[in-house]
């Protein structure tokens, strides 16, 4: 859901930005290390301890075999990421190690993790970042203000100027009807004069307007096609900001061009690469 948080956590343990890590939502739990390992926490914040000592976010942490990482309730944001040096070693399915829960494939046996599961780590590359290396928050997306940039969607022209003003001037609240498939938003309704259209492809970030006029932002596990008109698309660079909003929290949309959106994405990736370089140079 938040490629920046996973990417930063991976950078802090010397992995490729897209190595497989754990996405952790909701409840408390713990992980026992069966071998010495290097890990880091990114994204949502939670009180976390490693064998009783505080495990700081966005920090390279060395764990010994037998150590236990305990994570209490998430207290800020929504999805916490745990990266392990070497990455979680699960098979590649359709070019990805992630879990597709609706299809029950990918990741670890196509399902959510349960107590007692044992996850293998992949081979480590040469240099590990040094224990305690910390990443500057200015290299991460600005989660705080909740500004989510959008570009015009494929059906932008089916909405009049008033609808566009409503979308970009109103405040929208993430509702409880939100998960990895999509976030249903609450706020000023948009007049949908188009109704339902013949199905066509969509992508994570598409903001569709169903008959009730309240936007649904499609997220990571979104259906691949849909028939609701898509007024806008969340800039890929800002999808993490939306993803980390919990039910009840608000966002505002700001319209940008596709060119601006592409530049913003490049900046995010370049910031993640900077974390990788800083982490790598800490090891010398």
């Amino acid at each position: 859901m938040d490629f920046c948080a996973l990417g930063a956590a991976n950078a802090l343990v010397g992995n490729r930005l897209d190595a497989a890590g754990l996405e952790w939502a909701l409840g408390a739990g713990s992980i026992k290390f069966a071998q010495d390992a290097v890990f880091s926490l990114g994204g949502a914040t939670a009180r976390a301890t490693l064998s009783g000592k505080v495990a700081a976010p966005c920090t390279t942490i060395y764990a010994k075999s037998g150590d236990e990482l305990a994570i209490e309730q998430i207290n800020g944001g929504r999805f916490l990421y745990i990266a392990f040096r070497g990455g979680v070693d699960v098979p590649m399915v359709l070019g990805s190690r992630s879990t597709y829960l609706p299809g029950r494939f990918g990741g670890y046996r196509g399902r959510s993790l349960k107590s007692g599961d044992s996850l293998p780590l992949g081979p480590e590359s040469t240099n590990s970042p040094t224990d305690g290396f910390h990443c500057a928050p200015d290299l991460l997306p600005p989660y705080g203000p909740g500004i989510v940039h959008v570009t015009r969607g494929t059906h932008a022209d089916l909405f009049d100027e008033a609808a566009w003003r409503t979308l970009t001037e109103g405040e929208y609240r993430v509702t409880g009807a939100s998960d990895r498939t999509g976030y249903k938003l609450e706020g000023p309704a948009l007049a949908n004069k188009a109704g339902s259209l013949p199905s066509e492809a969509g992508c994570p970030g598409s903001i569709q307007i169903p008959g009730d006029g309240y936007p649904i932002a499609l997220m990571a596990d979104a259906p691949t096609v849909g028939g609701y008109p898509k007024i806008a698309v969340v800039a890929a660079a800002d999808l993490p900001i939306l993803a980390q909003r919990s039910p009840g929290e608000t966002i505002r949309f700001e319209l940008i061009t596709i060119e601006q959106s592409q530049r913003a994405l490049k900046r995010r990736v370049s910031d993640l690469n900077t974390i990788s370089q800083l982490a790598a140079s800490s090891s010398r």
């Binding site: 399915v93 359709l94 597709y100 609706p102 299809g103 029950r104 494939f105 990918g106 494929t154 259209l197 013949p198 199905s199 066509e200 492809a201 992508c203 259906p223 691949t224 096609v225 890929a236 596709i258 060119e259 592409q262 994405l265 490049k266 990736v269």
Partner: protein, 193 residues
Amino acid sequence: MQLLQSIHAAARSLAAARIPHVDDIVPAYLALTVFYDGLQISYGEIAKTLLDECDRPVRGGGESTESRQHLIPVRYDGMDLQAVAAATGIAIADVIARHTSRIYTVDLLGFVPGFAYLSELDPSLQLPRRPEPRPRVPAGSVAIAAAQTGVYPLDTPGGWHIIGRTDTVMFDPARDPPALFRAGDTVRFERVT
């Protein structure tokens, strides 16, 4: 129908052109969606390349022969078969006969991996979707709704009328390609017991 065919033809010629940084090409009823790597190429550049490729005369031969024919064995014992017969006023045996008598075209793949929207269902069998979708329709269910028919590839929620089931695996992540059907393919159903 003609528009859909031109969209499928354009999708095939774009795929054949193997344009760099293009990840996926998805034809649909009124749209052709191209997924590309925005870190490697700008929107302006890829849009120009794609439009130029579409303007090119269709590459000689082959495209239309790429569509394949499938025969799907179905046990017609679906939980809605009786209700469909009642709602349409057509005897169960005739519902089955009308469903198996047509050759359907794969209009679109999507919704969940491997789900194919197949047209055109016999007009006498066309019913609106169920008012409330079922929370779980088992994989392999053969179903109809409005002018379409299809097979659920996974256990998913679904609002179509289930008339039968098949053992044919519609989607297998370990297969290449994982989806059995491709847009433009044709499909026939055959009754088995």
